[in-house]
């Protein structure tokens, strides 16, 4: 019997085991924030929350919606013909040659479920649960280049620097879960929009997405440096706690308390992070 250890690492495992430490990033960033912040208590339950979690899959480079959910029969009609001038308006676009022609849908669509959602035959399983899905087809954009379009999708603006969807959620409704970070980014491959896609823009920077990275450290610096074992790390944290406590006693600055908490959380995160 072959047991691939990777197969055992299910999503549940990730959330359950790996998440405990990581999850507290969010809580920490909400509770251990600068207590004096002019924003009051940003993020925490600003509105009544119904959603338990939001999973947003942004699949740059995936098959086009035109082949999956968004049936465009008109394209079939004009397939093979030149691009209508109204579309390109005499502009030069990269990679569109003068002899470019229209491509219609490559796969057949049919209606599914009571809603009659049109789904392509490339999604035989998903189409069986058509009535459990919501398709939003009202979104459109003028941006046709990668970076602005990706930024627009994630931040509502084609220009880098606005608050991303995840940071809005973190800011607006926060997260009461203590086993998941408020806003994490799992990235595979290169994205044109760069880190601005999970930036916090003009929102407090604690709401920016925490990227989980490939390689040995899914979170930057979650591993101890060479030569330092967990005991040494514990000793160090004990010392820090003692001295920071003494500082707290002297200055009365609640930030010090938050710092102590943050270090303890970091330590637990180190124990729990997948490696």
């Amino acid at each position: 019997m072959i047991i691939d250890p990777l197969l055992l690492r299910t999503r549940r495992h990730f959330f359950k085991d790996c998440g405990i430490g990581l999850g507290k990033i969010a809580l920490a960033s909400m509770l251990a924030k600068e207590s004096f912040g002019a924003m009051g208590n940003p993020g925490f339950m600003r509105f009544p929350v119904k959603a338990k979690r939001v999973i947003f899959l942004f699949m740059a480079g995936a098959p086009s919606q035109l082949e999956l959910f968004d049936h465009k029969p008109k394209l079939k009609e004009i397939e093979g013909k030149p691009i209508p001038p109204s579309v390109i308006k005499g502009q030069r676009y990269a990679f569109i040659q003068p002899d470019a022609a229209v491509l219609g849908p490559c796969f057949p669509f049919s209606k599914h479920g009571e809603s009659g959602a049109e789904i392509s035959d490339r999604l035989p399983y998903l189409s069986k649960i058509a009535d459990d899905l919501t398709f939003v087809k009202s979104m459109h954009t003028d941006h046709f280049n990668h970076a602005p379009a990706q930024l627009f999708m994630n931040t509502g603006s084609g220009i880098p620097g606005r608050a991303s969807m995840g940071s809005w959620l973190s800011y607006g409704i926060g997260s009461e879960a203590d086993d998941l970070p408020g806003f994490v980014v799992l990235q595979n491959g290169v994205l044109s929009g760069g880190s601005a896609m999970w930036g916090s823009g003009f929102l407090p920077s604690e709401h920016q997405g925490v990227p989980f990275r490939k390689g040995p450290d899914p979170i930057l610096h979650v591993s101890n440096p060479k030569g330092i074992d967990r005991t040494a790390q514990r000793h160090t944290l004990d010392l820090l706690s003692t001295l920071n406590q003494s500082s707290l006693g002297q200055f009365g600055d609640p930030e010090i308390n938050a710092r102590i908490e943050a270090y303890e959380m970091a330590y637990r995160m180190q124990a729990r992070a997948p490696n």
Binding site: I25, P160, V190, L220, T231, L239
Partner: protein, 1134 residues
Amino acid sequence: MSKILTLVLTTFFILTFPASLQAVDFNKDVRPLLASKCYACHGPDEEGRKAKLRLDIREDALGNEVIVPGVVEDSEFHYRIRSDDPDEIMPPPESHASLTEAEKDLLDQWIAEGAEYAKHWAFEPPQASITLVNAAKWGNNSIDAFILKNLEKNKVDPSPQADRYTLVRRLYLDLTGLPPTPEQADDFVNDHRVDAYEHLVDQLLASPHYGEKWAREWLDLARYADTNGYEKDRPREIWQYRDWVIRAINEDMPYDQFTIEQLAGDMLPGSTQDQKIATGFHRNTQLNEEGGIDPLEFRFYAAVDRVATTGTVWMGLTTGCAQCHTHKYDPITHDEYFGIMALLDNVEEPDLLLYTDGQLKRQAEVENQIQRKIAELMGRHPEFDSSFASWRKNMQAKSTAWKTLQPTGWKTNLPKLELLEDGSLFASGDFTKRDVYDLNFTSPEPITALRIEALPDDRLPEKGPGRAYYEGRKGLYFLSEVNASAQDQPVSFKDLSQSGGNGVEKIIDGDGSSGWSGAVGVEQHLVLPLDQPLAANQPFSLSLLFERHFVASLGKFRISATSSTQPAKAQRLGSATEDLLSKGNQLSQSEISQLRATYLEKAFLPQKNNGKSFAAGAKWIWDNSNNNGKETLYFAKSISLKDAPKSVRLLYTCDDESEFFINGKKVASNKLWYEPALANVGTHFKKGTNVIAVKATNNGGPGALLVQLEITKADGKKHTVFTDESWEFSQQKPTSDEWKNKGLADGIKAILVGKAGDAPWNNIPLKSNDLSELNALRGQIPQSRRSLVMQERPADNPRPTYLRHRGEYTNPKHEVAPGIPDILLGVDTPEPGNRLEFARWLVSQDNPLGDRVTVNRAWRSLFGYGLIRTSGDFGTQAPAPDHPELLDWLAVEFRKLGMSMKKLHRLIVTSATYKQSSVATPELLEKDPQNRLLARGPRIRLTGELIRDHMLTASGKLSSKMYGRGVYPPQPKTVLSHAFGNQAWNVSTGEDRYRRSLYTFIKRTAPFAGYMTFDGTSGENCLAKRDRSNTPLQALTLLNDEMFIELAQAAGELVHQKKEDPVESLFRRFLTRMPKAEERKALQGYFHQQVERLQAGELKAGDIAGNPRADPQWAGKVLLARAIMNLDETITKP
């Protein structure tokens, strides 16, 4: 009934809220309410306005008895805010902007008192009020009088002055951004002069580190970065602007001048190079270089950013709302927003070429040497003169006499063409991806052929000739089509030729996507013989089309014609040479010299060879012996050397082109197989294993690589390494650059293609060294540096600014004239009409906001919070300032101080308010948790950059080197791995690894992780205030980040080598003060505990100290340093 109720309620209100025993203050109490609850529908924005009612203007609000001053019960307003009817109540339920009972009472009271309006406080000029407190009681200067007055009102005592160690640390960190060394701290503590503190202030204000500290804050506002942003995010050169900021701040340039030079330095009379560099402020906007973008659209976004940034920095207003519609709350109309844009947007955006005086001197020297070398080389070859004479005679016969044609008229789609004295045309202004130049000519002589010269010019990107400034190579051009016509009939061409570049035949193929493109920085030309000659005096037109997926129009070009009947061809030696040849023998002495030099360098010497070639042992290698396809191979070979060599001579070539690396460093490249590269590369070799790596590309036909490395060893013995079967290659592009350093992980043995001398390459004779002597000199001509700058457009080519409906670029409406919002316009002062006037207005007393914003920002930097807490916003929505009188007094005082930032900082840091202890007693925490009264000193976490600077200083590693290109401190590779283009973060070595953090290269799409974790900025937006979060990720960074570990190791080693008491020495290096007894005890306990574990072998000293020689004591000190670096107090201004 309702009247009585109102009265009762009002009375109740007054009794309950002692604050409103005073009359209602419109600015403080009423406007914020109206602005947040009512203006969205009843404010300045016409489009959003409901029921044609405005409540932001008194006359409008009084109309129709909406508000009847003094008579609450006659005011419709009163009934509406208290109605039970969901259809009548205001604000309407769906707005979720309901009023509390207390707020309703307040509004009623305001009406009862006469419903007086007042201009928003920030739009009135600041007035310095006089404070009436006994200054002798507490305080050093007027700041303290304001603070004390407020403290007394609130029955709170100021805190005692902080102890001297705290003061010296606070002052060093605030003014220079670096901690004092223990010695510097002791100097101050032991300085018993009465004015020791003031002396220290002056000393620190004079430190060059002062400019570095405050420049970083300014760069947040300037959204400075070293890359262009967006997908490509390629590097840009604008660090000269960063350096300008540092210098200006260190020189204490008055703030008005500082402002004017950055916004409009180019427009100052006789503007200097520095003043032009200063205009980089608004060139810090992002540049989208992705394929096919509309350059003018992204130019518009940059203009939007400029308006927003200007608003934040000098007006304290978030103007951004008015981009899309008239501001809902602040009196800025949609038109006025674009008026500000018009003030800022009449600009060209060139790269300024910069030469230092030293470079200019060197340039002249090298030019002289070149002239001497040319003379020497001519002398070296006795046959040169006769060879030149026969060449000239021969060429004169072949050359064509060209006459420059000056157009009689022209028009373009958008760019502006200007006729220069030499008959060439210079294009400026805005360019698109499809530009058309239509030119009209009449020649007094018949025409048999036309010549189009593409000419370089210093004003063009990379000297042109093209206008490409993004995506494609800068200075590139792409001539898609040339169409000529006379008498409405097309004129056709035949036998086209080009002096260089590719694609001349495609300029008449009717396809805009193909065309002619040539080299950057040099003259190249086309010759277009006419099918049928044009008669003399026959008007004709020439249409040049430039169509590419980026801007690629010609920036400078010249049209010439000939009536010669012999066939005209483009001249490889350049149009200037042909023009000289065609003049026959009527040349001046200098023209003859020029011709001789050209012949020598371009024709005579290249034919010479030195009779040598590759040695017999060299072998051609490739991935198979009969390759015919286009492919790129990655070759590597390890060479082991017992000692560093004395010298190494590299001779190599590749069919077709290649790059050559030694130990990761690129040392040579070649593009033509018959022109082998020759280089002395000895310095790149080291003792031990060396890796040779070649990226080799075959473009078709046979491909092969041939290398010969002549190594002269330290002992003088020679040894030659050739390409042979022992070399390895990979067909796959290695995933990282490591192969250049470490060799290929899974290389395949190379296949032998032939020996040196074999067909098809045969013997490759090496060029005469004469030519390389000349080329070597040319290589010594200093290259200019660049900086992005602004340049006002010429008066005859202004850029119109249009109102964009809903702020959308694609939705232009009417043209808008430059101007500032009416609310800010003084009665007697003229409205600014251009960028320079606007800059002057921003720092004049006519701008009621400017000085307030500036002093508030300085206050925030020093106290952690501004006197008005929203640093970027002084608009009507902003909360009232905590200390309005102090804010105004400081604003007025700042001007009296000549707008000197140093004097302003001095004024603030010498106040008793600033010098208070930052201890928050339980009583103070209870009464004033946010320290709004300022009854205690600031205690603020440092920014990410300053934390690193702090660690660098305390560990003794800080480099004092200032200025220059961005550098690359260590950070994990994964930070950049998600960024586009697989760019490497090549960690700086030597001193550059330890430079102050403001010199760290800022990559917008993957900003330096260590700073971002501490709320740093990516330079995407103007940032008026840094957040100060407190997260576990920060703990992980400080504990485990390589860049900090390295500094802990340095600090540990330092105290170990100096044999200092580790606890006290390290503690003081990082925390300035002496450790207290219990702290000392805890630290010592930790130290001994770690040393014991090290001695017991539980921990490895070498690993921890990063040095195999380290013993347990040494490594224990490293651990101790690391622990101290992680204390809250270490990263906090006390």
